[in-house]
Amino acid sequence: MMIVKSSSAIALLSLSLAAVALTGCSSESNADAKSGSSTCDKSDIKLVGQVRNESNPYEAAWLNGGDAFAKSVGLEQQRLTYDGDSTKQQEQISQLLAGDTDCLVMNILPNGDSDTPPIVEQAQEAGAYLVTQWNKPADLNVTDYSQWLSHITYDGKTSGKEIGDALATAIGGSGGIIALQGILDTGAAKDRFAGLEESLKANTGVELLDQQTANFSRAEALDVTKTLLAKHGDKIKGIWAANDDMALGALEALKAAGKEGKVAVVGIDAVPDALTAIQNGSMTATVSSDGPWQGGIGLAIGYCAATGDLDVADIKDRAWFAEQFLIQKDNVADFIDPKVDDADFACDNLFSRSQGPIS
């Protein structure tokens, strides 16, 4: 019985293999695409964008960018948020992957580095197309997985240095500054601060008077800045903040101390309030990762892979740094109303913003 059963199974298997081979031959362009999986009809593709929450302008803009891309290809994006809760994120992913996954495209912001491996494993098993952004353990290689199309992140060292240099210029190349660090055990905080240290080496006239953490929080930055203003007084000519929220908190502290406009402030992220502050001159510079583009690009890469227009083997760097933009008064107008450019999401132009592989 057993032997009969298994031999019939083998027969079935070889038949279906032959069928796959035949259909593979009939469609020329995808002859060497992923074995066993056929390409998807446009209408079958399901697009999902997942971020922490919509209560922060950057991530809300991210999802809006995803909507814009989905609209451009005549689809809709499913918007998911997990409130910065790792468990909730994993549950949502599991639920998603329990459904029909053949033509599922996911653009995911993992909550932290350690949340990425289970997401990748599950997507690989289910055969869904996955792009992750920002967080990934350094030793997890994208190329080990066929369904994990890309991991996109930004070089925090570059952004930290760029705003450090902008700050140095704003204070005339000499004087004291203070630094507000992010959550100390995150990669973003470490890299951005390393960037500042590099900038300080180049700008020898600038002295780092003090550095404190304000945990990326506007309210904490307010208190810390007040304390540092009490400590260093007029010696502070500039404030370097590892994100815009802290920069905005520092601005409020300056306002309370009657020093608004007299101390230069820089941040990273390009949140709307920071752009307004740059426009009216109370802030000097910020760096944009272009949230709407991030929301669109992840879906676009998955979409192009699903339709067969993009071959995973053709992607040069699967884990790559994307281009970021230094925003100052002269170019802030271009970023006030962020829009996505459909040309960035064309299947032959997906990697135009790549700054090279993640080192």
Binding site: N56, P57, A60, Q212, S217, R218, E252, A256
Partner: protein, 334 residues
């Protein structure tokens, strides 16, 4: 003839009194010692400007702690501050003059936000007494509800306030302190008066001390418990409004971390988690102690990588010292 009797009375009365004064003075002594140490170590710490700064940064935590103290006195716990503050912060920023809509309700907007906060507190209290859900869970749930309301109202665009009155509270000063600091001082006084002279305040102590005795003597405890949570949340609501004033913007995360910061401050000040002991003035001392620690470590120049750990250690030592006189009571509770 009468003198021996008097002696007996004095002997009988003294020991408990001495215990009370030591317990009450412990955190205050710690505050003075810590302040002196930092003053010796740092010349920047002992300036008038930094003293003003400490009082200003203690303002919001003081108001939250005033609220949470009443809940702790009853022997319950309240983790709803982050959600309630977030809801109040977003609500007030959308009701006063702002960049999102044409509302310009001024003080009425502030009162509505505080009323919303109080309603959330009432919900915690009702769930506690009617559904018998432990306060730990109800308040955690209500915090999530508050954050949910805040997120819905937030709708992806940061509300920035342009209301002159609210914005000036954090910036303008009276006798060297910002108006928010004075507001916090008023809260402490009001809280103390409620605790000392109102039935609500006295019953809060009694509920925490011996709830069964109170209900056996014919007092309906439930309404007072609901009232305590409502009052506490009204304080959180005001704190949310104060954060909005400081940041000139309504943040969903306005109350992030304030739940445990306030509980820590209250306990450091000598308000017991088991209920029935402590009070507003204790908690106010606790807030100052915690704030002085945070400020002092920056002024002295402790590396930010060390601060969290050092502060935690000092808090544990301070609490241990504060509760030392009543170790026996604490052994009973886990």
């Amino acid at each position: 003839m009468t003198s021996p009797v008097e002696d007996v009375e004095i002997v009988a009365a003294r020991p408990p009194r001495r215990g009370v004064s030591l317990r009450d003075a412990g955190p205050l002594i710690a505050l003075v010692v810590v302040t002196l140490i930092f003053s010796v170590l740092s010349s920047e710490f002992r300036t008038l400007g930094n003293f003003q700064n400490i009082m200003d940064s203690a303002a919001v935590l003081t108001v939250v702690t005033c609220g949470i103290t009443f809940v702790l006195l009853t022997g319950s716990i309240d983790l709803s501050a982050p959600g309630v503050m977030g809801a109040a912060a977003i609500a007030v920023s959308l009701l006063v003059a702002n960049n999102r809509n044409d509302n310009n309700l001024g003080l009425i907007g502030v009162l509505i936000a505080i009323a919303l906060a109080a309603a959330l507190g009432c919900l915690s209290g009702l769930a506690l007494v009617m559904l018998k859900v432990p306060s730990f869970m109800t308040t955690l749930g209500v915090s999530a509800v508050g954050l949910g309301i805040a997120t819905l109202l937030f709708a992806g665009v940061q509300p920035n306030i342009s209301d002159e009155m609210l914005a000036s509270l954090a910036v303008d000063r009276f006798l060297g302190f910002s108006y928010l600091t004075w507001l916090a001082a008023v809260c402490v006084v009001a809280g103390y008066l409620i605790q000392r002279y109102s039935r609500l305040g006295r019953y809060a102590f009694a509920i925490g001390g011996a709830e069964e005795v109170l209900s056996l003597s014919g007092v309906k405890v439930a309404p007072y418990k609901v009232a305590v949570f409502t009052l506490a949340s009204a304080f959180y609501g005001l704190a949310g409004v104060m954060v909005t004033s400081q940041l000139s913007a309504g943040l969903v995360q306005a109350g992030k971390g304030y739940d445990f910061a306030a509980i820590t401050a209250a306990v450091v000040g000598g308000t017991l988690l088991t209920g029935g002991r402590g009070g507003i003035l204790h908690s106010a001392v606790g807030v100052l102690l915690v704030t002085v620690l945070t400020n002092g470590m920056v002024q002295v120049g402790v590396s930010p990588y060390w601060q969290g750990g050092v502060q935690g250690l000092i808090v544990v030592v301070a609490v241990a010292a504060a509760v030392a006189p009543q170790r026996r009571r604490n052994q009973v509770t886990k």
